[in-house]
């Protein structure tokens, strides 16, 4: 077959190239540019080398924010993944219950993030919110705007409410793809309910669960809008996760250099964790 050589075809790629350049490459490179320089406005820049990176990596403020971020992500994964699988297991497999459950499960996912934050803010207010008022009425001293523990409790509860559905829907899809013969074989082999879960359902859900954990890790590690609306990072800095702290530094204090350096470090952490996690989960897959 003769190949026609026509370099003009490259022009077809131009729109994509321009689009990616403007929405990804150029902004990212601007951040890289800022992270190595100092500016005092008026477009005057001075070269600073790796100073900002060293400063961020050594700063206690960054360590604290990172620690809070890791704790938050770890806790919500620990709750949402088992809870999501649990709910998916109890959902009906056929009949009118299926669409009802699916719609109920999708609802939280359809609500805009700042609305979720606002809803929970009002819901948890100790004087007028249903949750806050009820907790106080039954004897708990609950005030998420004043007490760090309560703020954490509310933030985590909000995230669990908002995102467990995603894990449920993915697990449910995974469960539904299992052939009935597997359950029948397990029944005949005399497998207990736990053994059926451990040796059939869990291995068959492995791929969707990998996806669920990755998505939940990335989303929760970059969470901004909901805690910003709910607590604003407070009380004090109690719920100032990485992105909240980053915005404070960049827009609140206008420290563009350090903020840019922090952005890049943040970006690499997410990338690294995803890569390590994915490689570990897929290692067995390749071997077999």
């Amino acid at each position: 077959m003769n190949k026609t050589i026509n370099q003009k075809a490259w022009f077809f790629v131009v729109p994509v190239f321009v689009l990616v350049a403007f929405n990804a490459a150029i902004p990212l490179m601007t951040v890289v540019n800022y992270s190595f320089q100092e500016t005092f406005g008026n477009n005057v820049f001075a070269w600073e080398g790796t100073r900002w990176f060293k400063q961020i990596l050594l700063s206690e403020r960054f360590h604290d924010a990172l620690g809070r971020q890791i704790a938050f992500t770890f806790i919500i994964l620990l709750i949402q993944i088992p809870l999501g699988i649990g709910i998916a297991l109890t959902m009906p497999k056929k009949g009118w219950g299926v669409p009802v459950c699916l719609i109920l499960m999708s609802m939280p996912l359809l609500i805009p993030w700042n609305v979720v934050g606002a809803m929970w803010n009002i819901f948890a207010l100790p004087d007028i919110g249903f949750l806050g008022y009820s907790l106080n009425a039954i004897g708990f001293d609950f005030n998420f705007t004043q007490q760090p523990g309560d703020a954490w409790f509310t933030t985590i509860l909000m995230d669990v409410w908002h995102w467990t559905s995603l894990v449920v829907l993915l697990s449910y899809a995974g469960l539904n793809s299992i052939q009935p013969a597997y359950y029948q074989a397990a029944e005949i082999d005399g497998a207990s309910r736990w053994a059926t879960f451990r040796y059939i359902e869990l291995p068959k859900m492995k791929k969707v669960l990998t996806l669920a954990i990755l998505l939940r890790f990335m989303d929760s590690f970059m969470i901004y809008t909901e805690p910003f609306v709910l607590t604003g990072g407070g009380p004090g800095n109690a719920t100032a996760f990485l992105s909240i702290d980053l915005v404070k530094m960049a827009l609140g204090q206008f420290d563009l250099g350090p903020a840019a350096a922090m952005s890049l470090i943040y970006f690499f952490i997410v990338l690294l964790v995803c890569w390590v996690f994915y490689s570990l989960m897929m290692k067995n897959e390749v071997r077999s």
Binding site: Q184, E187, I188, G190, A191, R287
Partner: protein, 353 residues
């Protein structure tokens, strides 16, 4: 080890069923202890449903299942103590081949030494010994199906072992080997085996007794020879044999069979004719060419190597004739004769004896 009896078994997959919803109709059968049975029938005739009812995966809508006169209708598969192998390989992905085979034994809390000896015995038989420590998920389709078979065969105490078209995914060469293995195994362990298939060769080579199902009913149970020589239902005549039985419309008057203007002698004893439809059944193997008889035109001769299949036509319809490859076939017009011993009359599809 037990005799299995099915009493007036009917089943429908919908809860408020009418007669049309039934996938099994009034099934009655005894499976003798230690027998090798094949359950033969086309796809959708209710074979798998019947199997799942015997194993306890499905509760029948009506009727009872007895194991040695003990009613087990409400018991689950574990309580019934049966083994079942499915059409597509079911393996536990995360386990090794060894653990897969040991799984049914572990669930029944056998001692480790007992499990080990049984697993090794069955692995030896299925030629899985060299892969015992491999992960089961890495095997080929037939390797996986061997594991499925192994999990069914590893328990020595079962009442019955049931196979639901287990060789579908296996390639033809290995199919032959595995089938002989199963047959050999049956002779060795002498346990009741029920083998579901839609392939007549598979059924006839495996089983002592073949049970033929058609539209949710058992139409005939018998040895392969009985099914061949005396089909009780036109479906059996049709389904078993290649080519199948010739089923020809005929008239009955005053106890005489009239076909294509000729009087035919048969092995059926016709006393009265109260049927809507009467048919003559004769296998192509039992028809010869002769000087006189039914006049036919030869339409086509196909040579299969060992046999010739001749399509002939007469006023009563198309008749297939099977003769030896060496037989000289007349061309154009000829006469054929039916062997009376193997000629039967069917009233509304059931044999008249």
């Amino acid at each position: 080890m037990a005799k299995i009896t099915l009493n007036n078994l009917s089943h429908s997959y919908v809860s408020n069923y009418t007669d049309a919803d039934l996938v099994l109709r009034d099934v009655n059968i005894d499976w003798k202890d230690g027998g090798a049975y094949a359950l033969l029938g086309p796809s959708g005739c209710g074979k798998t449903t019947l199997l799942n009812i015997i194993s306890g995966l499905i509760k029948p809508s009506k009727g009872d299942i007895l194991f040695d006169d003990k009613n087990v209708t409400s018991l689950n598969p574990v309580e019934r103590d049966i083994a079942q192998i499915f059409q597509f390989p079911v393996i536990y992905d995360t386990m090794s081949v060894y653990d897969n085979l040991a799984f049914p034994l572990k669930n029944r809390s056998l001692s480790d030494t007992e499990i080990d000896s049984k697993v090794r015995e069955i692995a030896e038989m299925l030629e899985l010994t060299s892969t015992l420590n491999n992960r089961a998920s890495g095997l080929t389709a037939d390797g996986k199906q061997k594991i499925s078979l192994g999990r069914g065969l590893v328990r020595s105490d079962v009442n019955v072992i049931m196979f639901d078209e287990p060789l579908t995914v296996i390639d033809p060469h290995l199919k032959w080997i595995l089938r002989s293995k199963l047959k050999e195994l049956h002779q060795k362990i002498n346990r009741t085996m029920i083998y579901v298939t839609h392939d007549q060769t598979e059924a006839l080579t495996f089983a002592d007794q073949v049970v033929v199902m058609h539209e949710g009913q058992i139409v005939q149970t018998g040895t392969p020879v009985e099914l061949f020589e005396k089909p009780k239902h036109t479906f059996v005549g049709h389904f078993i044999g290649s080519p199948g039985m010739n089923i020809l419309p005929c008239q009955i008057k005053n106890g005489q069979i009239n076909f294509a203007g000729q009087e035919i002698q048969s092995n059926s004893n016709i006393k009265k004719n109260n049927f809507q439809k009467t048919q003559l059944g004769i296998r192509p193997e039992f028809i010869n060419f002769s000087d006189k008889g039914i006049p036919v035109k030869i339409k086509r001769v196909s040579n299969t190597g060992r046999h010739k299949i001749i399509d002939t036509e007469c006023t009563g319809g198309t008749i297939k004739v099977l003769s030896n490859a060496s037989t000289e076939i007349p061309s154009g017009s000829a006469h054929i004769n039916f062997n009376q011993k193997y000629t039967y009359v069917y009233g509304d599809n059931w044999i008249i004896e």
